[in-house]
Symmetry: C2
Subunit: 74 residues, 2 copies
């Protein structure tokens, strides 16, 4: 399999390496922001999921009475 490691054999200078290093650092910073946003989305979706499950349960109680809905109804 190919080795994608950066290597000195390509003749890159320290300045070039430094430029790449700072580019990568910027990419990592952007990815961290993106991941924070995604984490917030997941948290929000989980809260909403719990709320919707509660709404379904509320309606089941209204439809089928106070006992929990389950196999006993089948």
């Amino acid at each position: 399999p190919l080795d994608h490691s950066y290597s000195l054999t390509t003749g890159t200078t320290s300045t070039e390496l430094l430029r790449k290093l700072n580019e990568q650092r910027d990419i990592i910073a952007l990815m961290e922001v993106k991941m924070k946003e995604m984490k917030a989305s997941i948290r929000e979706l989980r809260v909403n999921e719990a709320k919707l499950q509660e709404e379904v349960r509320d309606r089941d109680r209204l439809l089928y009475g106070n006992s929990s809905v389950g196999a006993s109804y089948i």
Copy 2:
């Protein structure tokens, strides 16, 4: 404000820069995997959200009749 850019003034060698470069590349690869997982989670949660909303609507139809539930019931 502090500049967090990597700089040659710290006296780092090309070998050291290369090591850092490969470290960062590994971090980026791990973050990409993590982001893919989070994207899949978000997709799944959105599908589940739509399903639960449909379940709430189904029960509202059973409870309140076929017309859509809305301000007209208040």
